[in-house]
């Protein structure tokens, strides 16, 4: 089997080098126009054609290396020898490939020192196309096969392939663009290296001042960001835990409603929560108006600043914490809790000394996600921040504002990364090396232990008012789409919906005349492509990180979190920087938007998968391996079915974030691929709140439908925990 795999990959790579156009096509692959020009036309020529007909000699070494791989696959050799040969040939091929791709661009050599070294190059190349991509993938696969043959990754080609896939895609679509932009932190305006500038950019009062604590003056943006993120991480974790406990461990009657409710904020397009909060708490909002009318209290601007942003972030990110925690809380095995009670611990002691510590990976992960979501959040601070500046808004305005200073933006982004890094290591310290496995092959009674009264009351006191509050806020938002001018003229109307979603029935059939349809369909299509890929990549990465031991695991874990910690705007600009020029030239296409979705949203899939997977006892994997199941079988038949909540979470999150994300894609959308959120933002900027809210409501309904569909399609995991009327009473 294994000697067939390298054969297939090297043959596929060589075939692609002969029969597919090497470079990217202006009109796309599906037009078929390239079929006639595979040899003769410079635009359409295959790799071989480029070398022979069009003088691109620099492609030849890569293809030779690929041919060497083919030879290594065909020659009789021992496993070890074949592995070594494949490893050498594919590594050489990859290095040559990368060197030529980075070294030769649109106008010959890409760097001045290359020109001085080799002289002027008479030749140019545009971005990589289908042929080049297949060759690259083939070389990577051959590399992983070579490693596995030599005994790396437990000799398992599947594991080796998975590691290579995850690592190389993260390098390509997360690390590379982010590096491209971070380098600017060390450069002056003309692109010259000046490390001292970084110190100068970062060591200012505006970033580090602590005057707000001593009274009088403002704190620097770094502190602002940190205070907010700590508050948000702690708050969302507490709320998320309260909801998760109520849903899994009490006989509370409206669990379904509660579940939908906690998902609502996450499916809400940005700005809606902020606008609704202003409507309720703003100076002309209901609360202030009522206070003034009833008690003569002067209306205040209380909502603008830390309080408002904090509140909005709690609304926005509690569901994420809930999604991370629900799988973990469900997974805590009753066996240990029963053991504790058998040893005469009361319910409260059991809860605090057994259940909570077992949930620690989940709590730490939820806190990490809340913290990082907060520091990367852009929509809420921009609407509600007033002059409470945080790093993400500072970065945004350093890029697009009146300063236009990429160096400053990059330095601030670096600072943000340091914060994320700090939180990440803190989380690792907290979780430590203890074992949290509670899902094992051993049987248990399957009855979840009811919550102790104190905990139940506390959870209910926190979660239920919050739920009511959420409902109220959404009520307002919904009404906002049904009145003429929100906050002004409350005449009921359906005009906004008609304007967005009109469909005319004519003799030629249906015509989608509404203003929103174009962006609506594009969003739906791209999000539907991105979500399964996001979930798959995220869960595979999680499986590798938790279950496999290999060199560079910690680095990989950090790399998966990288794109999550960087604010969307930076990612957006970084993508334009990195992917607007060869070798990967994909700006203006739908592909760059999908890639941005995948690599921006994958981290939550990774976190949820890791938290859930650390609960599943290794003995289950080992049992599968003992029964001669190989790594892929173990993954698909044992681990994945137990991971259903995490899969649902990752799929839902991947889809929903693709639909609601805005700051990352604002530079990537074009007239052809307009997204719902960018359309809504334009409406908000234009003051056309009615249409924006109507569209948002339609999106919310759509996403809820999709979530139910995903839940239905993936299903629940069956843990043998029975749902029996709990004695703990009602919450």
């Amino acid at each position: 089997m294994i000697s067939r795999a390298p054969l297939a990959w090297s043959a596929a790579g060589l075939l692609a080098a002969i029969a597919l156009p090497w470079c990217a096509l202006q009109e796309g692959l599906d037009s078929g126009a390239w079929l006639g020009g595979l040899w003769s036309s410079e635009d359409y020529a295959s790799g071989l054609g480029q070398i022979v007909e069009h003088g691109k000699w620099w492609l030849a070494p890569t293809l030779l290396a690929l041919a060497a791989c083919l030879a290594a696959a065909l020659l009789p050799a021992t496993r070890q020898r074949r592995g070594t040969l494949l490893l050498i040939a594919s590594t050489a091929g990859l290095l040559l490939f990368v060197a030529q791709a980075l070294g030769i661009g649109l106008r010959g050599w890409t760097a001045a020192w290359l020109t001085t070294l080799f002289g002027e190059l008479d030749g140019r190349q545009v971005g990589l196309g289908a042929g080049g991509a297949v060759v690259l993938v083939a070389l990577l696969s051959l590399l992983s096969i070579g490693l596995a043959l030599r005994g790396g990754f437990g000799g398992d080609a599947f594991v080796a392939g998975a590691v290579t896939t995850v690592a190389s895609s993260i390098v390509l679509f997360t690390a590379w663009p982010i590096l491209r932009i971070l380098v600017q932190a060390f450069q002056d305006g003309d692109g010259l290296l000046a490390p001292a500038l970084l110190v100068e950019r970062l060591a200012t009062e505006k970033i580090w001042s602590l005057r707000c604590l001593s009274g009088g003056g403002r704190c620097g943006v770094a502190w602002n960001t940190l205070f907010l993120a700590l508050g948000c991480g702690a708050g969302t974790t507490a709320l998320g835990l309260a909801f998760a406990l109520i849903v899994t461990r009490t006989s509370f009657g409206f669990k379904k409603t509660l579940r939908v409710l906690t998902v609502l904020p996450i499916v809400t397009p940005p700005f809606v929560i902020g606008l609704a909060l202003i409507l309720v708490f703003g100076r002309s909002g209901l609360v202030n108006q009522f206070l003034e009318w009833s008690m003569g209290i002067q209306p205040t601007r209380w909502i603008y600043g830390f309080q408002g942003v904090f509140l909005a972030q709690l609304f926005a990110f509690t569901p994420v914490a809930f999604l991370v925690l629900i799988g973990v809380v469900e997974g805590v095995s009753p066996t240990l809790e029963e053991a504790s009670q058998t040893l005469r611990a009361d319910r409260w002691a059991t809860f605090t000394t057994v259940s909570l510590p077992l949930m620690r990976p989940g709590l730490a992960n939820a806190f990490l996600v809340g913290f990082i979501e907060s520091i990367a959040d852009f929509g809420n601070p921009i609407v509600l921040g007033g002059d409470y500046g945080v790093l993400s808004t500072e970065i945004y305005f350093a890029v697009v504002g009146a300063q236009l200073d990429y160096g400053r933006a990059a330095s601030l982004a670096l600072l943000l990364l340091v914060f994320a890094l700090g939180a990440f290591f803190l989380q690792r310290r907290v979780v430590g090396t203890g074992s949290y496995a509670t899902i094992s092959g051993k049987g248990d009674s399957g009855l979840p232990t009811p919550l102790p009264d104190r905990a139940r009351r506390a959870a209910a006191c926190v979660a239920l008012p919050w739920a009511a509050f959420t409902l109220m806020l959404y009520g307002f938002a919904f009404v906002g789409g049904l009145v003429k001018v929100w906050g002004r003229d409350y005449t009921p109307t359906l005009d906004h919906y008609a304007k967005a979603f009109a469909v005319e029935h004519t003799a030629d059939g249906l015509i989608w005349t509404g203003a929103a349809w174009n962006s609506f369909w594009t969003t739906l299509k791209l999000a539907a492509i991105a979500a399964p890929l996001t979930a798959a990549l995220g869960l595979i990465a999680a499986w590798l990180l938790v279950r496999q031991r290999f060199a560079g695991r910690a680095t990989l874990e950090f790399a998966t979190m990288l794109s999550f910690a960087v604010p969307g705007t930076v990612i957006g600009v970084a993508y334009v920087f990195a992917f607007n020029v060869p070798p990967i030239e994909i700006t203006g296409t739908a592909m760059i938007i999908v890639l941005c979705f995948i690599f921006r949203n994958m981290p939550v899939g990774v976190r949820a998968g890791m938290a859930a997977m650390s609960q599943i006892d290794r003995s289950l994997d080992e049992a599968s391996l003992t029964l001669r199941g190989r790594a892929p079988q173990t993954l698909f038949y044992v681990v994945l079915p137990l991971l259903r909540p995490a899969i649902v979470g990752a799929l839902v999150y991947g889809f929903v974030r693709a639909v609601t994300t805005v700051s990352a894609v604002v530079f990537l959308v074009t007239a052809e691929y307009e997204l719902a959120t960018t359309y809504i933002i334009l409406r908000v900027i234009n003051g056309d709140y009615g249409l924006a809210i109507a569209y948002s409501c339609a999106l919310i309904v759509l996403m809820l439908a999709v979530i139910l569909l995903i839940q239905f399609a993936v299903g629940d995991r069956r843990l043998g925990r029975r749902a029996v009327a709990l004695k703990g009473g009602r919450a």
Binding site: E205, K206, R218, G282, R283, R301, F397, A402, N580
Partner: protein
């Protein structure tokens, strides 16, 4: 198969738009205006317009990022300073349109100041927006002069944008500096700080806050107030009696544009009265730069406004801008909240 090819060929020939090619426009005015302009130009010329709408700050960020391999052809609209900055950084291309002779002098001056790399397409004056209901409730008189903003009844009631992030706020500061001299202007800004409730990040936010009753007075471009008033909010505007500055909405051709000939056609067309009346149709009430464009009745008349002789060349330069913003930062922005 052959039939399909013929049908496809016929389809391609039948659409005149593709026969004339395309032009990629980055559009920094309101989206309705952008769409109208795209459709009308397409009708007039047969050239397909691929329009993407972005704020002027986002557009120049994108131009910079794409500088090695530009994707856009024309940058239409948006406040003048980023256009001047793009010209200064060599991101845009000089072009002398035959229409230049039909334009107001301020639009032509924008062109000469930038070495021919940008041109004015509309202008808007800086002024105050105020919420008439809030004023009446407090019994305050509407501000009519810069000096009025220092009155105690406006304590905590004024919003302006933060010049670090907003071009509008920078125009305000540059205006005050040109009006009073730099030292006096900063004294004034420090005094006004006591009346300011927030320096917002975005330039249009203060006017929206006025419309929704979140603040009483804003320092904004007056044409933005007209839009809010038409949407049904109790907003009125005034321009300061001492004189005021203005922005020149501009248009530039991207350096290295792939469709240069079409870009020039769009550029020429955008300077005609037919193209410039589209702004008013999209409910945007700036003053168009072609002298022959009819002025909508709602638009603030430039004749009624006391305009200063705004030195776009001097205050549009990035060095001067950086210096003034840094000074504002350390002397005004760093003051404690009153």
């Amino acid at each position: 198969m052959r039939l399909a090819t013929i049908a496809l060929g016929a389809l391609v020939l039948a659409s005149p738009a593709s026969a004339q090619g395309v032009v990629n426009v980055y559009c920094s005015v309101q989206v309705e205006w952008c769409t109208l302009a795209a459709n009308e130009f397409q009708k007039a010329s047969g050239i397909k317009v691929s329009m993407s709408q972005k704020g002027s700050g986002e557009t120049i960020a994108q131009l910079k990022a794409e500088a090695q391999n530009p994707k856009g052809d024309v940058w239409f609209g948006g406040t003048g300073d980023p256009h001047l900055q793009a010209a200064e950084e060599g991101l845009t291309e000089a072009y002398k349109s035959p229409r230049l002779a039909d334009l107001h002098p301020w639009a032509v001056k924008q062109n000469t100041d930038s070495g021919g790399k940008t041109v004015g397409i509309y202008a808007g004056a800086l002024g105050f927006g105020f919420n008439t209901e809030l004023l009446a409730k407090k019994g305050a008189k509407a501000p009519a002069c810069w000096a009025d903003l220092l009155k105690p009844e406006f304590k905590g009631e004024i919003q302006m944008a933060n010049p670090n992030s907003s071009g509008t706020a920078y125009v305000a500061i540059a205006t005050l500096v040109q009006l009073m001299g730099e030292e006096e202007a900063f004294k004034y800004l420090k005094k006004m700080h006591a009346n300011i409730n927030a320096y917002t990040r975005s330039g249009t936010a203060p006017m929206k806050a006025v419309a929704r009753g979140e603040t009483m007075v804003s320092i904004s471009f007056v044409h933005d107030g007209v839009t809010e008033a038409l949407a049904g909010f109790p907003v009125k505007t005034a321009t300061p009696c001492e004189g005021t500055g203005y922005e020149i909405g501009s248009m530039s051709i991207v350096k290295g544009a792939r469709n240069l000939a079409n870009a020039k056609k769009f550029y020429d067309w955008a300077l005609t009265p037919e193209a410039q009346k589209l702004g008013a149709q999209a409910k945007q009430f700036q003053v168009p730069s072609n002298k022959a464009t009819p002025l909508p009745p709602e638009a603030p008349k430039f004749a009624d406004i006391k305009l200063i002789d705004y030195d776009q060349a001097k205050y549009g330069k990035s060095a001067e801008r950086k210096r003034l913003i840094a000074r504002w930062d350390s002397e005004v922005g760093a003051l404690p909240k009153p």
